[in-house]
C-alpha cells in the first residue's frame, strides 16, 4: 500500500512540477505548483512527519502560494508568458548534469553507512510532541532567530509593497479629496 502511494505521489509530483516549469500560462504554473506541494505534504505524512506535513500544508499551500496568487493579479492571465530562449539544449544539459551530481552526492553517505542518529525521538511521544521537545531545547536559538527573521521579512514586505499606502482615498471627506476633474 505504501509502495503504491509513494509511486503514485512521486509520478504526480514530478508531472505537476514539470508543468510548473514548462507551462507558458501563469495560472497553470501556480495551480500545479500548489497541487504538487499538497502531494509533498502527503509524502511527509507517509514518512511519519505529521507536523511537518501540516506545516507544509498551512504555510506553503495556505500562505506562500496564496501570496504568489496575489502577486499574479498584476498580469493578464488569459495571455501567455512570452519568454526568449537562446539555447534550450544547454539548459537541459545543465539541469541533467547537476541532477546526476546530486544523486552521486546523496548516494555517497548512504554507501558509507557512517550515519547515526543524533536526536532520536522520545519513546512514546507523538510526532508533534517529539518535534516540540527537540525544537525548544536543542534548536531554541535558531528558532528565535528564525522568528526575528520572519518579523524583519514581514516589515520589509510591508514597507516595500506599501509605499504611499497611508493615503486612503475612501476614508477621506469629500472636500479634502483632490479635485479629480482638474487632474484629469
Amino acid at each position: 500500500m505504501i509502495t503504491f502511494a509513494f509511486y503514485l505521489f512521486a509520478v504526480l509530483i514530478t508531472g505537476l512540477f514539470l508543468v510548473t516549469v514548462m507551462s507558458k500560462n501563469v495560472l497553470y504554473a501556480m495551480t500545479s505548483l500548489a497541487a504538487g506541494m499538497v502531494l509533498i505534504s502527503g509524502l511527509f505524512f507517509i514518512l511519519g512527519a505529521d507536523f511537518l506535513g501540516v506545516v507544509q500544508l498551512i504555510v506553503y499551500v495556505g500562505a506562500v502560494m496564496a501570496v504568489y496568487a496575489f502577486a499574479m493579479m498584476f498580469f493578464d492571465l488569459s495571455r501567455d508568458v512570452k519568454e526568449r530562449h537562446d539555447n534550450p539544449w544547454l539548459i537541459f544539459l545543465l539541469g541533467g548534469g547537476i541532477a546526476l551530481t546530486l544523486v552521486v552526492m546523496f548516494a555517497a553517505p548512504i554507501m558509507g553507512e557512517a550515519v547515526h542518529a543524533l536526536y532520536p525521538p522520545e519513546e512514546g511521544a507523538t510526532n508533534p510532541q517529539a518535534v516540540g521537545l527537540v525544537l525548544f531545547t536543542k534548536y531554541l536559538l535558531p528558532f528565535e532567530v528564525a522568528s526575528v527573521m520572519l518579523l524583519v521579512a514581514m516589515i520589509a514586505g510591508i514597507i516595500l509593497a506599501g509605499k504611499k499606502m497611508e493615503i486612503s482615498l475612501s476614508a477621506m471627506d469629500e472636500d479634502i479629496l483632490p479635485d479629480t476633474k482638474e487632474n484629469a
Binding site: N25, A34, A63, N127, P128
Partner: protein, 327 residues
C-alpha cells in the same frame, strides 16, 4: 482499536453522503430561518412545508446550462469548484463527531482518520480550501471575479492567523492537538468556553470569516462585486461551491462544539451523541441568526479588524494563558 481499510472506506463514504445531505438540507434550513426572522414563510409549496425544495433545487442545478466564458481558462475554471467541495470534505475526515460505538458487534471508532494533529489538519485543509474561490476568480476572465479572488486571498490569509492563534490557548491547556484528547479533557474539566471565553469569541469571528458567512462574505458581496468569484458560474459547478461552503460551516460548528462546548461528553441526562447534535445545531443556527441580524462590513474595516484588533487580542490571550499555566 483496530483500523481496517474497509472500515475507513465505509466511513469516508458515509461522511460524504451524510454531509452532502446535511449541506443540502442546510440550504433549506437557512432559507426557512431567514424567512422566519423576516416574518415570512419561506419555501412552502414543494412538498410538505417546502421540504422537497432541496430536490427541486438539485434538479434545477443539474439541468441548468453549464456555461464557460470564452476567455476563461477552461481547465482551471472547471477544477475550482471541485477543490472547494473536496477540501471541505477532507477536513471533515479528521473530525470525530460522535462517541465511539459498537454496531453489529463491531467496534467503530467514530473518526475516519485519527491523525494525532487533528486540529492542525483541519485548519490546513481549510487553508487549502482557499484555492477554490481563488482559482475560480482568477480563471474566469472577469474583473469582478478577479476582485473576488483578491479578497479571497487577503481574507483567508489574514483570518487563518486569527484562527490559529485563538486555538493556541486551548491547545496549550489540553496539551494535545488531537480532537479526541480535547473531548477527554472536557470530561474532567468545565467547558473550555468558560475558561477561554475570549478564544471562543475570536474563533467564532475567524470561523465566520473562513467559511465566508454573512457579516464577512466579502468574496461574493453581491452589493459590491456582483457575485465575486462565482460571477460566471452556473448550474452544478455553482452548486458545488455551496456544498463546500455548507460543509465548511458544519466543520466550524463541530470544531467549536468539540473544543469549546464540551464535545460529546454526556450532559446532565442527555446522552453524548444527542448533546453534540444539539450543540452543532445551535452553532449552525447561530450562523444563520447572525446572517439575519448584522450587515456587511467594508473590506478595509475587515482587514483592520483582523490585524489591529483580533490578532493582538489573540496574542495577549496566549501570553496570559501561558503565564497562568506556568504559575
Amino acid at each position: 482499536m483496530e483500523v481496517t481499510y474497509l472500515g475507513v472506506i465505509i466511513k469516508a463514504i458515509l461522511i460524504l453522503a451524510i454531509i452532502s445531505a446535511i449541506a443540502g438540507f442546510g440550504t433549506y434550513i437557512e432559507r426557512k430561518v431567514l424567512a422566519f426572522m423576516q416574518r415570512r414563510l419561506g419555501p412552502m409549496h414543494v412538498g410538505l412545508y417546502g421540504l422537497l425544495q432541496i430536490a427541486a433545487d438539485g434538479i434545477k442545478l443539474f439541468t441548468k446550462e453549464d456555461f464557460i466564458p470564452q476567455n476563461a481558462n477552461k481547465f482551471i475554471f472547471m477544477l475550482a469548484p471541485i477543490i472547494t467541495a473536496a477540501t471541505a470534505f477532507i477536513a471533515l475526515s479528521a473530525v470525530p463527531v460522535f462517541p465511539d460505538f459498537t454496531i453489529f458487534g463491531v467496534f467503530v471508532p467514530s473518526i475516519a482518520a485519527d491523525v494525532n494533529i487533528g486540529i492542525l489538519f483541519v485548519l490546513g485543509m481549510m487553508a487549502a480550501g482557499l484555492y477554490g474561490p481563488l482559482l475560480a476568480g482568477m480563471s474566469q476572465a472577469n474583473k469582478w471575479g478577479l476582485l473576488g479572488a483578491a479578497r479571497t486571498a487577503a481574507q483567508f490569509i489574514s483570518y487563518e492567523v486569527v484562527t490559529g492563534l485563538s486555538l493556541l490557548a486551548p491547545i496549550m491547556m489540553v496539551g494535545s492537538l488531537s480532537l479526541i484528547d480535547f473531548n477527554h479533557y472536557n470530561e474532567t474539566h468545565p467547558w473550555m468556553v468558560f475558561m477561554q471565553p475570549l478564544a471562543f469569541v475570536l474563533f467564532l469571528i475567524a470561523g465566520f470569516a473562513e467559511t465566508n458567512r454573512t457579516p464577512f462574505d466579502l468574496l461574493e458581496n453581491e452589493a459590491e462585486i456582483i457575485a465575486g468569484y462565482a460571477t460566471e458560474y452556473s448550474g452544478m459547478r455553482w452548486g458545488m461551491f455551496f456544498i463546500g461552503e455548507y460543509a465548511n460551516m458544519i466543520t466550524v460548528a463541530v470544531l467549536a462544539s468539540i473544543i469549546f462546548l464540551g464535545g460529546y461528553t454526556d450532559l446532565w441526562f442527555i446522552p453524548g451523541w444527542l448533546a453534540i447534535i444539539l450543540k452543532i445545531a445551535f452553532m449552525f443556527f447561530l450562523m444563520l441568526w447572525v446572517r439575519a441580524s448584522w450587515p456587511h462590513v467594508r473590506p478595509d474595516q475587515f482587514m483592520w479588524l483582523a490585524w489591529k484588533v483580533l490578532m493582538p487580542l489573540a496574542v495577549i490571550n496566549v501570553v496570559i494563558t501561558g503565564i497562568v499555566i506556568m504559575v
